[in-house]
Symmetry: C2
DNA sequence: TGAGTAATTATGCAAGCGTATAATTACTTA
DNA sequence: TAAGTAATTATACGCTTGCATAATTACTCA
């Protein structure tokens, strides 16, 4: 007779986060269809039945995973701000360069983002999260743009329009960097982003 | 005995497009997992077996649907371009404006695009289509940028970098227009895109 | 230290999936 | 109008899926 598999008990929180992490890993690697209960359990080092013990349905687990992902992205983006220099121009340049360089550009992150984007049009909760994340990022960018322009003695610029455009530019570059990583040389996107922002704002941003 | 279901023959092209349209509708409404062979056949008014007759695998059908979607979007951006004057600046402005206006900007299209983006990193057929349509759009944009710069007597510009940046800008605006349609006033994105391109190229593009 | 219990594993099931293949039918054409 | 054929339907198979439930085991604490 086969031995019954030995196990150790783990706290509820540890098991929940392990299951959520396994779910995110699998979605990033193989898309939502790869995140089956059996695959998730295997990755998390448990057996499938345990999922039912912590999440009523698989849908609940996926929803919890999305929430974890989004709050994680927001916090990560906020944390990077503290490392940037104080000079407004250099600060903006650093922010722009970060946004299109590893580890921000990352196929895993892009894949997960695409998975959640797909839900945005038909899921109100996802739309709300997306809205908050998008506006949060854009507002930060707008603040830096305003500071940089002010430092250069420029007034009466439409910083909202510039932030929308700048945010779109970074989004587009970030996506293509993740989707077609082989199409761009190392640092090419960073250089393109800095030059594009320089022209967009009519300011000379320093290369980083 | 149940009657065997009566049917009419339709041309190969009609059936293929019907199946592709059904696939796109289902993915847009319920995500990729909603596009099962049975659901697709039902929506297209045929029985599941017929799919096999026109597409070797379901994967082939999905890839064909993706190609139809993306080339359709590119065509829509280029549409009515021929009506515009030959002036390179006006042509570029029209192209840019179209790319961020209905019907190109469309929540359904964005949802479909997000769904396909998930498949791109790991499905060779999807990646090929994505590369081709991405580069097709970008090359078109690059050609127009080059024409506009040449007409303005400008040389030695890095049109590749400008096209990458311009393409990213349009992509980003297009995505947000589809994901958060209520956040932008009518024509706001169009105006932002034109102004951003004017600065990016250091050319005065006419509002359309 | 031993009984109780919650965590975990193990097993099984019904439904849905993609796909292979056979049977039929609408249409073409000679 | 009859024969041939390509289009279409019908059926079935093997897998995988999410989930329910029973069996077992690690841990707790009186």
């Amino acid at each position: 007779m086969n031995q019954r598999r030995p196990f150790q008990r783990a706290g509820e929180e540890a098991r929940r986060t392990a299951l959520i992490e396994a779910t995110l890993d699998l979605i990033a690697e193989g898309g939502p269809q790869a995140a089956t209960v059996r695959a998730i359990a295997l990755r998390a080092g448990v057996t499938p039945g345990l999922i039912r013990h912590y999440f009523a349905t698989k849908e609940d687990l996926v929803a919890a995973a999305h929430e974890t992902l989004m709050t994680g992205l927001t916090e990560a983006s906020a944390a990077r701000l503290d490392d940037l220099p104080d000079d407004p121009l250099a600060r903006l340049a650093g922010f722009v360069a970060n946004a299109v360089s590893p580890p921000v550009t990352d196929p895993r992150a892009v894949a997960l983002w695409a998975a959640s984007m797909q839900l945005v049009p038909r899921d109100a909760a996802m739309r709300k999260v997306h809205e908050a994340t998008y506006l949060g990022f854009r507002d930060r960018l707008q603040g830096m743009i305003a500071d940089a322009l002010t430092a250069a003695g420029r007034r009466d610029e439409d910083t909202r329009a510039l932030a929308i455009a700048g945010n779109a530019l970074l989004d587009g570059l970030w996506i293509e960097a993740g989707a077609l990583p082989d199409h761009f040389q190392a640092n090419e996107l960073k250089s393109i982003a800095i030059k594009a922002f320089s022209r967009l704002l009519d300011l000379k941003l320093p290369e980083v």
